[in-house]
């Protein structure tokens, strides 16, 4: 019934737009995360290693020229060593005449190795140059475009799918519980309409809200301050995104079918959404997590939305990469929606 579908959709949209709390959690709250993390991590990965330097000479000049280190000058060795002992500097280089001594902190072995390598490398280069002999081994360094991403490139799809998940799960669950408790469901049941227009209007409103969220978050991330760059196949992320919204909607319906009060529904929705957000690479790339955790995270639809969105929004993969995330998400939706329909009741 078209009239019922339209009027229910309009009623839900009005209710949504007039509820300031819901608007805040749907739009401003995730946006705050995007802005804060986007600005916080903007320069991550570009930090130079700081090492102490005492004295002067060719070695120190060459070290600075590598671009990999930043030197902090000390007048005497003791002041520099004190900083190393405090853990503020990974090492201090003392250069006087022909003698170069590196004193390093042993606590962080990886960093100690880096510092040693840098200083030793520079010193050896100077040695070779000073000897006047041609180098036996030719060494060249070339830059390669790698797959590791600027933080904004994974923050945007992550926070977008997380924000959408929260809104879709909570929106569906709370509406269902609230309507049952307040007897709105009974009123709908007493009207000569089937369940289809009711369900369809809620799905359409949920998708509409998610699309608005996507436009807002991606729009903000594209601003020069944040510097998101979309790949050529960004539009392929749309089917992944929509499948994801359906999966979250199904979770919401399941929570709403189980819970009798709004409080219970809020708690249950949090139990689902929070671990899902942390384990799905919303706030940090999941590939840095241990293997078993990565396996666990694959049961969550949010993980697949994140991966799928990232594949198209920033990594520029082709249409063949659609199959896995969309298939998993739609399958998830069907299974969860089926369980929800079995648990669901119109009345308490």
């Amino acid at each position: 019934m078209k009239g019922a579908f339209k009027s229910l959709s309009v009623a839900m949209v009005k209710g949504f737009l007039r509820d300031k709390t819901t608007l805040f959690f749907a739009f401003l709250f995730p946006l705050m995360f995007l802005v804060i993390f986007g600005l916080l991590f903007r320069d991550a990965g570009n930090e130079k290693i700081k090492i102490g330097a005492v004295g002067d000479g060719q070695v120190l000049v060459a070290l600075e020229r590598t671009g990999a280190v930043e030197l902090e000058r000390f007048d005497d060795l003791e002041a520099g060593l004190a900083k190393v002992r405090d853990g503020d500097l990974p090492g201090v280089v003392q250069a006087s005449g022909d003698e170069v001594v590196l004193r390093f902190a042993a606590s962080d072995q990886a960093q100690a190795g880096t510092v040693q390598g840098l200083v030793a490398g520079v010193t050896q280069q100077l040695n070779v140059a000073a000897s006047g002999a041609p180098p036996k081994y030719d060494f060249r360094a070339e830059q390669v475009e790698d797959a590791s991403l600027q933080p904004i490139q994974y923050l945007t799809p992550g926070i977008l799918s997380w924000g959408t998940a929260v809104t879709a799960v909570f929106g569906a669950a709370i509406t269902l519980v609230n309507w049952r408790r307040k007897q709105v469901l009974r009123r709908l049941r007493l009207a000569p309409i089937g369940a289809t227009p009711i369900l369809a209007s809620r799905v359409v409103v949920t998708i509409g809200v998610a699309v608005l969220q996507a436009l807002l978050f991606v729009g903000v991330a594209l601003l020069p301050v944040f510097g998101l760059t979309l790949s050529g196949t960004w539009w392929l992320s749309i089917p992944v995104f929509l499948s994801g919204v359906l999966a979250f909607f199904a979770i919401g319906m399941l929570v709403g079918a189980f819970c009798k009060t709004e409080e219970a529904a809020t708690g249950a929705a949090n139990i689902v959404v929070l671990p899902m957000a942390f384990l799905s690479g919303t706030f940090f790339p999941i590939d840095k997590a241990p293997d078993w955790l990565q396996t666990v995270s694959k049961v969550f639809p949010l993980r697949h939305v994140n991966d799928g969105m990232m594949d198209f929004l920033v990594r520029g993969k082709g249409p063949e990469a659609l199959l896995l995330p969309c298939g998993v998400l739609l399958g998830f939706t069907l299974v969860v929606a089926f369980i929800a329909s079995k648990v669901f009741s119109w009345e308490d």
């Binding site: 609230n178 307040k182 009123r187 009207a191 009345e347």
Partner: protein, 304 residues
Amino acid sequence: MTSTDAEAIVVDDIHKSYGDLRAVDGVSFTVGHGEFFGILGPNGAGKTTALEIIEGLREPDRGSIRLLGLDPFPRKVALLPRIGVQLQASAFFDKLTAREQLETFAALYGVGPARAAEVLELVGLTEKANTREDKLSGGQRQRLSIACALVHDPDIVFLDEPTAALDPQARRNLWDVLRAIQERGKTIVYTTHYLDEAEILCDRVAIMDRGRVLAMDTPAALVRGLDAPTRIILERGVLTAAEAGALPGADEAAEDEQSLTITTRTPAPLLTALAERGALDGLQVRTATLEDVFLHLTGREYRA
């Protein structure tokens, strides 16, 4: 129209138990077209359960219902446009105004938005059309919930405790609304625990207690059937109890701290005698009410 459609509602020996509790324990009655029928009784008497079974929202364990000739359970879509059910006064969509609520519900029945203004007028909420549901007073919400039940112009209207928790003024306003609905030829079935109200509004009432119908008739016939004496109450000190008891028509006279109560079955000569003595100051005449009927039927004082 089928022959069974001669009555709007036929309820035949319905039962419903929840565990050990027999919420409805053999209730039968019929309601004619255009009748204002009241189901009365204290809280927990089984009124709401009975009403929900008749509306088709619950299945009876036993017994049958004919609503406009059809069994309302399981849900009959063809029947739904012909019945209007008032639900609790919170069964509204969040953040919508009174008019928007009605327009939304009207659309579910394929009724245009113009009808919203009509029912708002009928329940006296025209001025509140653009007020959000959560900003309405208790009485206004109650009237809005009745308007929602009427928006598709049903033949039978079910109202469950429409006047509960309202202040006296709001209750009286609502009575006018209920009378206006009846004047439009609607059949009304309503539950209440206010016996005085049912006496004023209903064509017929069924008094329920503990899942059963104790008595069913017009309020006047029920009271008459009690054959209860009339009580005449005077200010204390006008007459002594002995003097009063000796008056023509007086059966008995009793005094308490404030007043003198004379019971009589022939009030006319007694009132004449009192008038002759100039003893009419502060006089009250109390005839039996449905509360007395309830007391008589159950042996208990009526407590809502």
